[in-house]
Symmetry: C2
Subunit: 286 residues, 2 copies
Amino acid sequence: VYWVTEGERFSELVGQGFEYSYQVEETIYQGKSKYQKIEILRNPYFGRMLILDGAVQVTERDEFIYHEMLTHIPLFLHPVPKKVLIIGGGDGGTLRRVLEHPVEEAVMVELDEEVVKLSQKHLSSISDSAFDDKRTRLVFGDGAKFVAETKEKFDVILVDSTDPVGAAEILFSEEFYGNCSQILSKNGLLVTQSGSPLCQAKELNKAFGNLRKVFPICRVYFCTVFTYPGTLWSFALGSKELVPEEADLSAIEKRFEKLGLKTKYYTPQIQKSCFILPKLVQEIVS
Amino acid sequence: VYWVTEGERFSELVGQGFEYSYQVEETIYQGKSKYQKIEILRNPYFGRMLILDGAVQVTERDEFIYHEMLTHIPLFLHPVPKKVLIIGGGDGGTLRRVLEHPVEEAVMVELDEEVVKLSQKHLSSISDSAFDDKRTRLVFGDGAKFVAETKEKFDVILVDSTDPVGAAEILFSEEFYGNCSQILSKNGLLVTQSGSPLCQAKELNKAFGNLRKVFPICRVYFCTVFTYPGTLWSFALGSKELVPEEADLSAIEKRFEKLGLKTKYYTPQIQKSCFILPKLVQEIVS
């Protein structure tokens, strides 16, 4: 579908013979970085949309679902997350949610500098002021290489990557998870977006298998993202000590209140219920 | 979009400038009943699809999600559901799940005889043998009129209707819920599909307000249906005595095991977690 111009429709294949079809009200940006094709389009329903290599990454209307769930579940499960590492996440939506917590430092390692620049310019409602926060340290480079080489330690690692196929595949490998484990603190944990359990069942199964080889406590949780194929979206969590089912909801509720978080999807009650999976998802990861 | 013929695409509007677009591999049936336009199409991903007045009602691939969640949540919440009333549900998918429980009688009141006939003929994998079960009593007529006039009593009422706009609007009215309450047994309960919290927030809010005027215990629960606009799908539950949060999960697990149910979405653990709503849904119904 290259390129999409104003007045046209942009379609993303969800399953064989099934597409999401978006009216393109405005073509805000089209270009090619060193790594991928980048488009920013505007749709009447979703607002501005970031599209990488033909796949919708984020839209102004529904970005909060994915970003809140990727971030708040691990950051509230951890009692005092101070240092957080984000792999990917160029649009800044994950970074912004991390900074809503009283972290000391958020390190974001993004491969594609262009995505960050364009997001800052055209999708600023998603990152808000996150890129200007003095706790933010932005690194442009290979996330897998960063975790293999850094001597720093982190409490939480968030993998906010594209899907477990192609370039991002390494971010779902045993080796990568092993390196992450090395740089996590004693009670640290990792969460990765792990695709659609329905459209990418095989990839989820494989990624979760790799996670299990490294972390003693592994879980999958889910949410619903309208613009992602399959809509039932999964996250995989690998943890050294902290157990999702043992989360102290009343303590989390107090932290949530104290932070004054204005969430639109996440609530402290969802902290546990999102781990209770539909049968078909259970079967993929068991 | 009338009519859709083979080789064409069938599109359903989800939001302004956002459509689901289906390749039509085969046009199995097209016609007009007294009440609506009926189409049965085949798509490579979803299999056979039932479309009423241009809105996808059910597909072979994902019908189980909606039907399991509409049926099993109330039927497991009730300790001994013996008589169940279904309003609508012409495809038979709800009826089939009701009959998986040891009910004595399932009465199904469907307005459009054509939908039942065509579903029996072309979508038999959805109803399976439900229409032939000797516990099934099929009534063709107006569901609202039936509940206003019948002298029978029911333990559970399931409203499996089209969306709360147009012809089905009466099934979301205070008067209808009042009549349902009259024919429910002492600890009876009603569940109605209540649309997409995202695309039909106003309708859900109104329907839930009406339910509240009648039933002392009212809740909303949710699931994810790929072919329904907005995908996050809601059900409203009105109950005379039984409280969803007080459900005895270990007792339900035993019943579930004993029945040997082969579900694909529902699990006894979901019985409670499906009531823990994303913040944006909470706000619509509070």
